[in-house]
């Protein structure tokens, strides 16, 4: 199983903090496509090219492969500092 975390605008727009699912063997791109199928809102925001993805707290690109237990996070561009 995998945990997918959402932050900031993305969390608010989806109305969701976390989902649990099995992403073993998927790429990040495939995971986004799977989640986008949930409804129109998820589709709009998860396929947004500005969404950043981290796996185990490190930024990755859409080709990154997922294993069981990986913590995935999706979020908008950062605005700290």
């Amino acid at each position: 199983m995998n945990k997918v975390l959402f932050f900031a605008q993305l969390r608010e727009r989806l109305g969701c903090d976390t989902v649990q699912l099995d992403a073993q063997g998927m790429s990040v791109r495939e995971l986004r496509q799977v989640l986008a199928k949930r409804d129109e809102r998820w589709r709009t925001w998860l396929l947004d090219k500005d969404v950043l993805v981290a796996v185990n707290q490190t930024l990755v690109d859409d080709n990154a492969a997922l294993s069981t237990g990986d913590e995935v996070a999706m979020f908008p561009p950062v605005t700290g500092g």
């Binding site: 975390l5 932050f7 900031a8 605008q9 500005d50 981290a54 707290q57 490190t58 930024l59 913590e71 996070a73 979020f75 908008p76 561009p77 950062v78 605005t79 700290g80 500092g81």
Partner: protein, 149 residues
């Protein structure tokens, strides 16, 4: 030393503790980022800083290590606040000590540039006369970070 915290920091305390027992550093550069009244054309009252705790810690630790490997530094201090902040509050402290000033200035700029472009913090502003708005990412910050890569 990295720290992510709700409470304010005391710049002077960090400066003193960074230099304790240090007779080597001829140069200290400090940067403080603050909540300012006008941001992206909006009158700001206060803001809320959200973050991704496991990743901010991991990323800032990594950033500190990178700076220490890229420049001959004595110490690096990175403090970033989260939670509710008001106008003129301190948000972030970057402090660097080194034998020479060139290394200290470059490393301090590197740290804040990368932090702003990569560390998972998000600002939600409470804007006068409105509700709240998420601050939009600044393209200029991506360019500033890219110059180091």
């Amino acid at each position: 030393m990295i720290r992510v915290q709700e409470q304010d920091f005391d710049m002077n305390e960090e400066y003193q503790s960074m230099l304790a027992d240090d007779s080597v550093s001829g140069a200290v550069v400090m940067f403080v980022g603050r909540v300012r009244d006008i941001n992206q054309g909006h009158q700001v009252d206060s803001l809320y800083l959200e973050h991704y705790p496991a990743m901010t810690e991991k990323y800032l630790t990594q950033l500190e290590q990178q700076a220490l490997s890229l420049w001959p530094l004595e110490k690096v201090t990175l403090i970033h606040r989260v939670g509710k902040l008001s106008l003129t509050d301190q948000i972030v402290l970057v402090a660097v000590s080194s034998v020479h000033r060139e290394a200290a200035f470059e490393a301090a700029q590197y740290l804040i540039d990368l932090l702003k472009a990569r560390a998972p913090f998000w600002k939600k502003e409470h804007v006068a006369g409105e509700q709240t708005r998420w601050v939009s990412a600044n393209h200029k910050d991506q360019i500033a970070a890219a110059q180091w890569l």
